[in-house]
Amino acid sequence: MSTGPLPLADRTITEVGELLRSREVSSRELTEACLARIGRDGERLNSFLAVGERRALAAADAADADLAAGDRANRPLLGIPYALKDIFVTRALDDAGQPDGGLPTTAGSRILAGYRSPYAGDAEGRLTAAGAILLGKTNCDEFAMGSSNENSAYGPVHNPWDESTVPGGSSGGSSTAVAAGQAFFATGTDTGGSIRQPASLSGVIGLKPTYGRVSRYGMVAFASSLDQCGPLTRSVRDCALVLGALAGHDPRDSTSVDVPVPDYVAALSGEVRGLRLGVPREYFVAGMEPGVEAAVRAGIATLESLGAEIVEVSLPSTEMGLATYYIIAPAEASANLARYDGVKYGYSAGEEVLLDNYLRTRGDGFGAEVKRRIMLGTYALSAGYYDAYYVKAQQVRTLIKDEFDAVLTDVDALLAPTSPSVAFKIGAKTEDPLLMYLNDACTLPVNIAGLPGISVPCGLADGLPVGLQVIGRAFDEATILRVADAYERVAGFADLRPPTAHD
């Protein structure tokens, strides 16, 4: 908890946006403040894989010119510096095939080392159109497979709250950049919790939209029926602003849904009276840390004191979520990652015979967790096991989804922990894949059902951040943002910042 005003780099988009509009600060100053933090802490925390300083400053100067001219389009993200998880492609080649000054894309993998995308993804496109300033690409677990950021081929990310611990994953570089004042917001991807869980462990806000709400065009694919792009921010209002910029139909993604994007900021009434909020008893699982449970229960009590009606509900198939996910996600991953063949782009082992080149390119290019998931997925899809594993998991997926849908006709949203633990020591869980997978027990059922979920800080346990998760109906991000914002306003954790929050 700070005593004076926070340094510029640690404030919210909402605060610095007002300063930009009143011309008290410039976009260049904001950009320089983030770049200074990246320069001071970036290498130690290992949060960025690429930084584009020159381009960022040029874009900031252009934003300052737009602001001086009055920004008639009234773009709330104009001049705001941000980072993209390195799973989002950024255009880095001109039409002649030459490097154009754009940033490379690696997906945290050795197999994409040096890859330069010939096109811009939807996230880069929309945020550039919104006037936001791209600072760089953040570290992440390889192909977004992980819950600790230790699976990156470029080394682990250190949590600024305690640098001997992980920031969570797979969007751990993004959660760290936002927590440590290196960017005013960042994008993440969430397949089983990869936005919400690192947000929880890093003390920031993270929102996974409804499947289909945000385009997946230009997002390196992991599990195509589960992946979604969403924002990580330092306030719920900021999260609403960024979601508004990212959301919307994109014909280039055939699973992008053409439904209107509401004004998410306007939904933040600060009022939860009249809302029925369900607490699924199965989410308070054995093995949850007592400090986490206490903080989450206190958060639920705060919402009750604000006038929300709290009811206990049951989602009995929750315990099958992990098993369902660890068949469906690896199966889809094994198909998606077949494209890394050492022929079209990326690393190639240089073998003279094609089959040998496939084997060595993929054997050398992928890390241990990615290989494990490719193997698991290939096995689950192989002849003789397809029905027993893959079809069975798809049937249980139906059960999980139907239970959510039924409960969410009775309540407006659900309240749950985001993660069963706070940030853990680097190396503590790397030897046991199953232990690592348990980190996502409270988040992955939400992906299985395709619903939106947000994590909002609800205090500290042992000095480390805890997240409260709010889960909503499909395409009702407005309600979960409203609940999280009403909570944030009174909970007293809005100014929580790690020890890096000083100039």
Binding site: D94, G97, R116, P118, L359, G363, I374, M375
Partner: protein
């Protein structure tokens, strides 16, 4: 339980070259994971249909019109091997194999 030769078979299907040490490690880990996910067999799904995706979209079409795309040079720029306007692929059939 999956055997060492099962692991080798699946690795061949996935075109993953694994070292002997990796195969040993993978066999143990996959067996533990498969035992955990095997819990799904306890669930009665005899009257439940499968869910492949959660949104009610199907057969998304676009107009069949030519649109600008990625230039040939940009499309080939990341290729490990190329020959003129083409990707070069290592030999598929080796003499004597």
């Amino acid at each position: 339980m999956i055997s060492r030769s099962d692991v080798e078979h699946v690795a061949a299907l996935a075109r993953l070259g694994l070292t002997d040490a990796e195969i040993d490690r993978m066999q143990g880990q996959l067996n533990r994971i498969l035992e955990a996910v095997g819990r799904l067999q306890e669930v009665d799904t005899s009257h439940i249909g499968p869910t492949a995706q959660v949104i009610a979209l199907e057969n998304v079409m676009r107009d069949d019109v030519v649109r600008p795309g990625i230039s040939r040079e940009a499309g080939l720029a990341n290729a490990p091997l190329r020959e003129g306007a083409h990707l070069r692929v290592p030999v598929v059939l080796e003499e004597g194999r």
